[in-house]
Amino acid sequence: MTIFFTNKIGKSLLILLLLIVTGCSPKEEQKMSDKEVVLEWANMTLFITRYTPSNSPTFASRAFGYTGLTMYESVVPGFTDYNTMNGQLLGLEKLPTIDDTKEYDWVLALNAGQSEILKNIYVQTSEENIQKIDSLEQVIYDQFQKEVEKETVQRSVDFGKAVANAIFEWSKTDGGHRGYLFNFDKTMVHPDRPGAWKPPLFAQSFSHHPLHPHWGENRTFASKNKEVEDPKMIPYDTTPGSPYYKQFENVYLKDLELTQLEKEAAIWWGDDPDVSFTPPGHSYYFAALAVEGHDISLIESTQVFAQVGMAVADAFINCWKWKYQFFTERPNTFVPKYIDEEWESFWPDPPFPSFPSGHAIQAAAAATVLEHNFGKEFTFTDRAHEGRERDELKETDFVIRTFHSFWEAAQETADSRFYGGIHTELDNEVGLEKGKVIAKNIYNLEWRNPHEQ
């Protein structure tokens, strides 16, 4: 339980537990707002992501895509100037429709849908976590069914669940279903050419096989994200002074003069899937901060989570496609070989090739979506790892961060990988640039109906 209270998700769940307890008393309770319900579910999604074992940034990004989309689709029929994604996303054609003559409570639909999709996508989570999901659903249900006709309640819940189940069925064909069972392809033989990725020695994971080598073949949410132009990698060259050499030399030189602030950035954005809600979780968390910080409606809130979730999911698919297409080495391979035998990065290597940076691409995708929804300016404080124990080995604390725009946060995400010594600047630049393209293909789907109103 100690870890439980160390972050925002923990706190909101604590509030929920209290709600459950006080729910038994006759005292009048404060009813949640629609937006609060949305945020509770976003936080629950982050909690499940964090506390489900063997999770990966790839699988997590996909899960955010489906939970976000389900959130949106479970309410969108109630808002005529918004469009369903049904028919817009490849193979998504069988979403249930509403009976126009009947009434629905959209919060109840959303509530049922979120519970259903989370338990399906995260079928591998623990019994304890499933109980947490169920109790959140129950608390919200109890509050919102009170003033609603019994039949409407049932109709809304049924609709939410039907949407979730249709989306889940569709998700099974994207190539990532139960992907946690196939984290590492042990039969795979890596390319063995100069500059090729080598299993890390200073590693985040015990695996010497790279993570999800086939993830790049997965279906993207936006069809256009299947056709993003390949980035350019500079040619392998071990000659000192060559562009390739310089990329790695810069990582090395940066590491020699890391400031405390840079070290703090490096560990903050680590977002190791074993101990955190993963990098795409960090983006989903920013979406929650943005929704919380703006006066927006239920449908607008759900649209933000759908777009951010789908954008980070597509970002990871593209990123993984390129990672295995280029299969490039990490600084930890090049630097000891050609620059300094004893060198080791500040942060341990994740188990997959380098180019381009997954952190950068997904952070850029999320920031681009958020800017599109809320504009460039937004001041927010990132408390994702607040209260985490100091890293004694690296003599660095987890220090909360304040940003004045979404992009500023994305830029620091990318830079942090360079400070950590696990990505070159080129990996990050390409990641940021491609993330923007991917995000555009998401927000340019027909979310709003131009003919209405």
Binding site: V123, F206, H208
Partner: protein, 561 residues
């Protein structure tokens, strides 16, 4: 460059490494082929295994070997006494191990019948039926006629389903019955797994609690991990029982993989006679946050305190004991035991008989993608080390794992066996287990074999001290878990240079008994049988005090000379 040319070039380079120094006079001699040892460890998946134990299973005075082979049949090598070994695995009663992916092995006299028994760790079965790789570890009693009996279930070990790595025998409660510490890597289960859901599979790769198995008077084992206050969860590579604080009980050094991410290494202080281990990791600064693979135990600087060489990826650590109450200090860089590789086994021994501890380190890459890396030999010269692996012909480029020291030919010096893994992908040389005969030792020597009466039968955990011309040399009897997944000879070995006599040999038996022999001839193997003392007796305390005064004045006199 295509693959073939590259392989050829590698081969050429390595050939030069190997043969370039053949003309050198004094070397280790690779006698693998002549000795009849033909072994290669085959991994199940990834990089785990294997190990070897040195044990004279037929009590003929020549030390035999048990070597784990992973998915293949293990080997039981009988030492013929003429420099050759014979695999007598078939018909030994150990054939059931072929159903398991074996990892490490240790030996002790579990039931005190005078014969060495075997404990073998496993990670899964070889039938491919386990969705989650786990299996019980295996215990075999020596029948006394060169055959063994599987007593795993009888000793209540069948419910402990684990992904186990390094085992170690030690006598934590000094009752003469050897207890076990078993390192577990991935989450362990008790009993049979029911219906396996996705949730079970994803939680299986989490960190594990290791086992501390207490021997109940030679009849059964009980896991007392929590009762003794251990309780940590991590990626365990096992541990080694050793007396780091010189209070004559067995403390526990625990090696953990991914110490920078999961839990770090531990140093547990035995609070015998209380049944408890106190976590002394932080105060001793032995909470190393590294990929700790194994440890060599030895007092390399001759100050009377045990030091530890911990193997790692790239940066091995030479942890120098500063005495009670002071943190250990890493001297690897300063003293020269610092070459970079991926290291597993390590052994301190006085290979050249010049009265100090040299250090052998077994290196090997991580399957399946392997680059050859030679083993290290660090020659100790006035407490600074020089790497001489190539010069001494012992820098084998196989994928090294466990390594052990023993006197294969009873000529008084320490020979070496290194377990090598089979490369999964292309590899420029044959990576097979190697036996190196020591042809570098020139000085005098003494070997001491212990026979415990109240202590463990082979003296496991006891300490032998030799005082010779003012020099004090100490050795612990290895219960296994030193090196990597392996166990060295239980016969203490001392190199003595030009000394033809030693002034005294002192045995500090686990449990508190002490014996002293004086004026001992060199170049022989002594056997010292424990003289049982009534426990908790006043006269015993006075006797011990008397002996201590004798030793202290002895040392004092010699230092004055």
């Amino acid at each position: 460059m295509n693959n073939n040319t590259k392989t050829f070039t590698n081969y050429l380079v390595i050939s030069i490494f190997f043969f370039g120094w053949v003309s050198h006079a004094q070397q280790f001699t690779d006698v693998t082929e002549d000795s009849g040892i033909n072994h290669q460890y085959e991994v199940y998946e990834g990089t785990f295994g294997g190990g070897v134990t040195v044990f004279d299973f037929n009590n003929d005075g020549f030390e035999d070997l048990y070597i784990t082979s992973g998915i293949k049949d293990d080997k039981l090598y009988l030492n013929n006494g003429d420099g050759t070994f014979k695999n007598v695995f078939e018909g030994s009663g150990l054939e059931v191990t072929s159903k398991y992916v074996t990892q490490g092995v240790v030996s002790a006299d579990v039931n005190r019948d005078g014969f060495r028994d075997l404990f073998i760790t496993t990670i899964t079965t070889t039938d491919g039926k386990n969705i989650i790789p786990r299996a019980k570890n295996l215990l075999f009693l020596n029948n006394g006629d060169s055959t063994f009996k599987d007593v795993t279930n009888e000793y209540r070990l069948e419910d402990l389903n684990s992904f186990s790595t390094g085992p170690s025998f030690g006598d934590i409660d000094a009752d003469g019955y050897p207890d076990l510490f078993v390192g577990n890597y991935f989450q362990e289960f008790t009993g049979k797994l029911g219906i396996i859901k996705d949730a079970t599979i994803v939680s299986a790769n989490q960190t594990a609690r290791s086992y501390l198995l207490k021997n109940n008077e030679g009849n059964s084992f009980k896991n007392v991990y929590d009762d003794y206050g251990l309780g940590h969860k991590g990626f365990g590579f096992g541990g080694v029982f050793t007396d780091f604080d010189n209070d004559q009980d067995q403390d526990l050094l625990v090696n953990q993989d991914f110490g920078y991410k999961a839990v770090p290494n531990f140093l547990y202080q035995n609070e015998y006679p209380n049944e408890h281990f106190e976590d002394a990791s932080k105060q001793t600064e032995m909470d190393l946050k590294i990929n700790a693979m194994g440890a060599a135990v030895g007092d390399f600087n001759g100050d009377g305190w045990m030091d530890y060489y911990i193997t790692n990826i790239k940066f091995n650590m030479l942890m120098e004991n500063q005495g009670n109450g002071r943190p250990f200090e890493d001297k690897a860089k300063e003293l020269g035991t610092y070459n970079l590789a991926i290291s597993w086994g390590a052994n301190f021994a006085d290979f050249d008989h010049d009265q100090d501890l040299d250090l052998f380190v077994s290196n090997g890459d991580l399957n399946p993608n392997c680059t050859p890396m030679g083993n290290f030999y660090f020659d100790n010269n006035y407490n600074t080390y020089t790497e001489k692996g190539r010069e001494l012909g012992i820098n084998d480029y196989g994928i090294g794992r466990g390594s052990v020291i023993f006197d294969m030919d009873n000529d008084g010096d320490m020979d070496l066996l290194v377990v090598n893994q089979k490369p999964i992908l292309n590899y420029p040389i044959a990576s097979t287990t190697r036996l190196f005969r020591n042809d570098i030792a020139t000085g005098n020597w003494l070997k001491v074999a212990l026979k415990g009466v109240q202590a463990e039968s082979n003296g496991i955990g006891s300490r032998v001290t030799v005082i010779s011309k003012g020099k004090r040399l100490i050795r612990e009897i290895d219960g296994g878990g030193s090196s990597h997944l392996s166990q060295n000879s239980v016969i203490a070995h001392f190199g003595l240079g030009a000394n033809t006599k030693v002034d005294s040999v002192i045995v500090d038996w686990t449990g508190g008994n002490t014996q002293v022999l004086t004026n001992v001839e060199t170049n022989q193997q002594l056997q010292i049988i424990e003289i049982a003392q009534p426990k908790n007796n006043q006269t015993y305390v006075w006797y011990l005090l008397g002996v201590l005064i004798l030793i202290i004045s002895g040392i004092y006199l010699y230092r004055k000379k």
